[in-house]
């Protein structure tokens, strides 16, 4: 109880940080994922390399690259921007794969009809392809959001104060790592179960 009283204020603050960081990364990741998906479908080499790199290299290493290698190249970003940026770029690679999978489900006839009616490619993308595939992509998007919430724990390594970093601080100040990390894990679980619940709840309602 005493532990909770000491831990809760800082942990709740850190929870807010984890949530907004994840939300930003998912939003940017999706926005970037759409053009990358289109480029991948069009067989663009850079897009496929992008996806292969960000899915092939552990996020931890990507973060270290942003932290160490960017300054080396003369790019000096605030740590939080570098961290959230890396998380977003990584997310975009996974989003691109999900969106590409969703696009594959859109019947060709619908796209041909749009073209014959004179819609521009951008209009077709935004008004036809995305809406048609959105429903099919939803479960994968929610899973990706959960993965990003979990992945955001890694930015603690480059010193950003979020849930995991906060739990580390708590563990070393109280000398009680077990409750500190258990509380931290429980909070992640609550966030992710909420996401799962939202996904299922809405999905169920729409199916019925």
């Amino acid at each position: 109880m005493e532990f909770l009283a000491e831990a809760l204020p800082s942990m709740l603050e850190a929870t807010a940080a984890t949530i907004w960081i994840s939300a930003v990364a998912v939003a940017i990741g999706f926005a970037l994922g759409v053009p990358i998906a289109v480029a991948c479908s069009a067989g663009r080499v850079w897009a496929n390399l992008y996806v292969s790199f960000f899915r092939g290299v552990p996020l931890l290493i990507q973060l270290l690259l942003a932290y160490y290698a960017l300054p080396f190249l003369g790019v000096d970003l605030p740590a939080i921007v570098a961290a959230v940026g890396t998380l977003s770029l990584c997310c975009a690679a996974y989003m691109a794969e999900i969106i590409r999978g969703g696009f594959a489900l859109v019947p060709k006839g619908g796209l041909e009809a749009a073209r014959l009616l004179g819609l521009t490619p951008l209009q077709t993308l935004l008004r036809i392809r995305l809406p048609i595939s959105a429903q099919a992509m939803r479960p994968a998007l929610i899973s990706e959001a959960i993965l990003i919430v979990k992945a955001s724990s890694l930015i603690s390594v480059v010193g950003i104060l979020e849930l995991t970093r906060s739990a580390q601080a708590l563990a070393s100040s109280t000398f009680e790592p077990l409750p500190a990390y258990a509380l931290c894990g429980a909070i992640y679980l609550v966030i992710n179960l909420t996401l799962t619940f939202l996904a299922q709840g809405r999905g169920g309602a729409q199916r019925a």
């Binding site: 292969s52 790199f53 899915r55 092939g56 290299v57 552990p58 996020l59 931890l60 290493i61 990507q62 270290l64 690259l65 160490y68 290698a69 300054p71 080396f72 190249l73 959960i146 979990k150 992945a151 955001s152 724990s153 890694l154 603690s156 390594v157 995991t164 739990a167 580390q168 563990a171 009680e176 790592p177 077990l178 500190a180 990390y181 258990a182 931290c184 894990g185 992640y188 679980l189 992710n192 179960l193 799962t196």
Partner: protein, 217 residues
């Protein structure tokens, strides 16, 4: 700079065996555990499967890093005092098992009931039907997902460096700390993992196709 790169590659070569060993061990244990969990959840009564379902949700909902911290730093307080390597192996196995179990469960569910009903009509005992009909039928369906997960777990092993498992990342970062050539060492790390993951993914796709062809013939 060239020296730092060379040192990093050397360190990578020294760390790679442990990365592969701990990954292989984690995948193997994870597959066995995951299969058991899925089988119990599928076949056993609700009282037994319900707690397992909760456990799987918990493992899948918590970052791997936090699980490592919980086990490695928290474990000693409840009598689980593991070396970094042992802790890494256990954590990877449990994390993998949770995901593998979901794939196996989906596999069990994907076998149409009709095929098992046919077996029942012919008098084939349940355990034989599971062994000879259900498992072979689901094998092909679960193989790609299992391979995919195994490849993802390679990347998770990098996180074990944070609990001081002397694998690839840990060794190469050691070069960074000694030479302050962090940019070079991190670049080498990225290249090595990228190659490792792409090679494993390619090998698994290749194997999958061969297995599929052998089974279809």
């Amino acid at each position: 700079m060239m020296a730092a790169l060379a040192d990093s590659f050397l360190a990578a070569a020294r760390g790679l065996p442990l990365t592969i060993a701990i990954w292989g061990a984690g995948v193997a244990t994870g597959l066995v555990l995951g299969f058991l969990v899925a089988a119990i959840r599928f076949f056993a009564p609700l009282a037994l499967s319900w707690p397992l379902a909760m456990a799987v949700e918990a493992v899948r909902g918590v970052p791997f890093l936090v699980q490592c911290f919980l086990l490695y730093f928290g474990g000693p307080f409840i009598g689980i005092d593991l070396s970094p390597i042992m802790a890494g192996w256990v954590a990877l196995s449990v994390y993998g098992a949770a995901y593998f179990s979901e794939v196996f469960r989906a596999g069990f569910l994907s076998v149409p009931p009709g095929q098992l009903e046919a077996a029942r009509m012919l008098g084939i005992p349940r355990h034989q039907a599971v062994l000879r009909i259900m498992l072979p039928m689901m094998a092909l369906a679960v193989l790609p997902s299992l391979a995919n997960l195994a490849v993802i777990l390679i990347k998770e092993t990098a996180i074990l460096s944070i609990i001081t498992v002397p694998e690839l990342t840990f060794r190469v970062q050691g070069v960074g700390s000694a030479t302050f050539a962090f940019a070079e060492t991190t670049l080498v790390l990225a290249l090595v993992y990228w190659a490792l993951v792409e090679a494993t993914a390619w090998a698994s796709r290749h194997t999958e196709r061969r297995i599929a062809r052998a089974l279809a013939a």
